[in-house]
């Protein structure tokens, strides 16, 4: 018995991004919501790309277009399920000619085609229509199905993806969180360093509920236990339940979705990174929105309350020339340039040690700190900010800072914050210049560290092994291509910092269309 989780009514709304990711016959598949007519949302159809390594992609022809009455107004997101016999079914939301949201079934036209180029829509679509009492525009975004060995109390139950039984009860709800979009539900291992198939459950397993909140456009997750027998999920810590606790990413990252990569036994996360420039600029450049570098997801054994995200190891295949900087002392109030050559495409791994004596001697205070409301990298505290300036020009007229900020409470306890300051990222006036960030748990004995992937206008930063992640979009006008530089800085007042860094220039992935003259 397969279960498909479809939240209905107040629960679920979708956004248009990646869906149906899967690994099949040696290729990773990525489908995405695509507007072939404009660099804005609308006229949505299915884009399709394939890769052997999640890094080098080939564009394939559009997988599905809006050519039936039941998806004439949009071929929206869905989820793929690989059945036991290896066959794939895709359940997706269509917006009908009358803009009613329904669920439709589609499957590959030819399962022996590793590229899954052509798709067939089930002739008797839709398989699910909004049930009585549910608004026509509030019914979408089915998730991947999983097998439940016993009975269930989820929304829909199916044996064949064609006939569904609507059941009472919901997996979970959290009051006051508004609309939930792109719900994801998956198991993680408490003990192993690998991912788990979506159908796995057991004593060493926790389940993650992830929701995208329509109200603030952020993705939240919570860790808990899934009770198969009565089909409920209970959060480990209700005070940080889904939607009110931890975020996948404290920057611009939304509608993320995982899939189980059976090729390498890992759970991989895809996320949509939008633009923070103006639509006028998007129209001029002719495109908008990007996908993040895929990230593996693991349970954080050290804290027990976090997930660890880390760029897939295949990204390392793009590393070119590397530079190492060992034990660079950065005095309070100084900026040190790092000579790495061209700095618009980088992979940076950085470790920081702050003067421990100064930290111990200091008297704490009860001042609260938050990255978002602070003065950014320019606001000096006793023990922060310190970190890196990326996509900076040589006279620092443009700079984006990624940094730590440590506070000491009057009880002597240290709290560490991880921030990304865009306030001086560009001379342009029509771009977002917020400061993103969050508290990051630092365990006893852990050094402060982060990894940054820099890619022209995209910065993905991972602190403490991926425990806290920030993605941002910046649009420098001078710190571009060969003129982009990187600096290490320490703007704290009371302590010096020692930094050790490894910085690689990154090659481009040269994504291209699959040659159409080749037989697919």
């Amino acid at each position: 018995m397969l279960i498909v989780l479809i939240r209905i009514g107040d629960a679920l709304r979708i956004l248009n991004q990646d869906f149906g990711p899967l690994f099949y016959k040696g290729w990773y598949h990525f489908f995405y919501q695509y507007n072939p007519n404009a660099a804005v949302w609308g006229d949505i159809v299915w884009g399709h790309a394939v890769s052997k390594d999640l890094i080098h992609w080939l564009h394939l022809p559009l997988a599905m277009v809006a050519d039936q009455w039941y998806d004439a107004n949009g071929v929206w997101t869905g989820s793929a399920t690989i059945l036991h016999d290896g066959k794939i079914v895709m359940l997706y939301t269509g917006s009908t000619v009358e803009a009613v949201q329904v669920q439709n079934l589609a499957y590959p036209a030819d399962h022996s085609d590793p590229f899954l180029t052509h798709w067939v829509k089930y002739p008797r679509n839709p398989v699910l229509v909004p049930p009585p009492g549910i608004d026509d525009k509030d019914f979408r975004d089915p998730t991947t199905a999983w097998i439940n060995k016993t009975g269930i109390a989820l929304i829909y139950d199916t044996k064949d993806f064609i006939n569904y039984e609507k059941l009472d009860g919901l997996l979970h709800t959290v009051p006051g969180t508004g609309m939930w979009e792109c719900v994801d539900f998956f198991p993680v291992s408490k003990t192993e360093e690998n991912g788990l198939d979506t159908s796995i459950n057991g004593p060493g397993v926790k389940h993650v509920v992830k929701v995208s909140l329509d109200d603030d456009r952020h993705d939240y997750h919570a860790i808990g236990t899934y009770h198969e027998k009565n089909g409920t999920w209970i959060p480990d810590q209700p005070e940080i339940d889904a939607g009110i606790g931890v975020r996948y990413d404290y920057g611009i990252y939304y509608a993320a979705k995982t899939f189980y990569d059976q090729n390498k036994n890992r759970r991989v996360l895809w996320g949509w990174i939008g633009e923070s420039d103006s639509e006028a600029a998007d129209m001029k450049k002719g495109w908008a929105s990007v996908q993040g570098i895929p990230r593996t997801i693991l349970f954080d054994k050290k804290t027990g309350t976090n997930l660890l995200q880390w760029p897939v190891e295949e990204i390392e295949s793009l590393r070119l020339k590397g530079n190492e900087f060992n034990q660079v002392t950065v005095q309070a109030g100084s900026v040190v340039p790092l000579d790495v050559g061209s700095a618009a495409q980088l992979d940076i791994i950085a470790e920081f040690e702050i003067d421990k004596e100064a930290l111990e001697k200091a008297t704490g205070s009860n001042v609260t700190f938050s990255c978002e409301t602070s003065g950014g990298a320019a606001e000096r505290g006793a023990f922060g900010p310190f970190g890196l300036l990326v996509l900076a020009d040589k006279c620092l007229s443009e700079q984006t800072s990624v940094y730590f900020y440590i506070t000491k409470g009057s009880d002597g306890n240290l709290r560490t914050f991880f921030c990304n300051d865009q306030s001086r990222s560009s001379a342009a006036s029509d771009v977002d210049k917020q400061i993103y960030g969050s508290f990051v748990p630092v365990q006893k004995g852990e050094n402060l560290s982060f990894r940054i992937l820099v890619d022209h206008s995209i910065i993905e930063s991972f602190a403490q092994g991926g425990r806290t992640v920030i993605t941002s979009r910046v649009y420098p006008t001078k710190a571009i291509y060969g003129a982009a530089k990187v600096f290490v800085f320490n703007n704290a007042t009371a302590a010096s910092v020692t930094a050790s860094l490894k910085i690689w220039q990154m090659n481009s992935a040269f994504t291209q269309p699959y040659p159409t003259d080749k037989k697919l």
Binding site: W41, S95, A99, M179, D214, S278, E279, S429
Partner: protein, 173 residues
């Protein structure tokens, strides 16, 4: 004499019959507009469209989007008119930037907002409204002063109207 009296009575009945209907429609318009930062602007904008008396919140959002479109189109015409006679290079540069901004509003922001409202994906309508406000702001700021902006009133009206649209679209989230 009797005839006149009958007429008066008929009139009164006529008015009372219609009052409850327009009151409840006004009620939705007023409740909705109370949740925007510009109540009076919101009410007058919505009421200028006869369809507003029977519209639900999505319908009111659609009317608001249409209103932003009209104002943007009119402002675009104003700008291109000014561009025809402008000689100062700084003024021309600013006006050209404004053409880009308002073209974006008319060709991208509003069509996306309307599609989003009609298909039940209101967060794109909210985003578009925010972007439209930003475009108007960028246009206004492109006048370095000197030269002074000749379209301050239009840009301000635009920012206010898009704020109304954004608030109404947010109610659909």
């Amino acid at each position: 004499m009797t005839k006149i009296i009958s007429l008066v009575i008929l009139q009164a009945v006529f008015s009372f019959t219609f009052l409850p209907i327009s009151y409840s429609a006004s009620n939705l318009i007023e409740t909705t507009c109370k949740q925007t930062p510009f109540f009076n602007l919101c009410v007058s904008t919505l009421r200028s469209d006869p369809g507003s008396s029977t519209a639900d919140v999505a319908g009111l959002a659609h009317i608001a989007a249409g209103s932003v479109n009209s104002k943007a189109t009119a402002t675009l015409n104003q700008i291109t008119g000014l561009l025809k006679i402008a000689k100062d290079p700084n003024l021309r540069k600013a006006l050209q930037r404004c053409v880009d901004s308002y073209n974006t509003i008319v060709k991208a922001d509003i069509p996306v907002a309307i599609e989003a409202i009609l298909k039940g994906n209101p967060n794109f309508a909210v985003d578009s409204a925010t972007d439209a406000a930003n475009e108007a702001q960028v246009c206004e700021k492109s006048f370095a002063n000197p030269p002074k902006s000749p379209i301050s009133d239009s840009n301000k009206a635009m920012r206010d109207l898009t704020a109304v649209l954004e608030s109404i679209a947010s109610l659909l989230l």
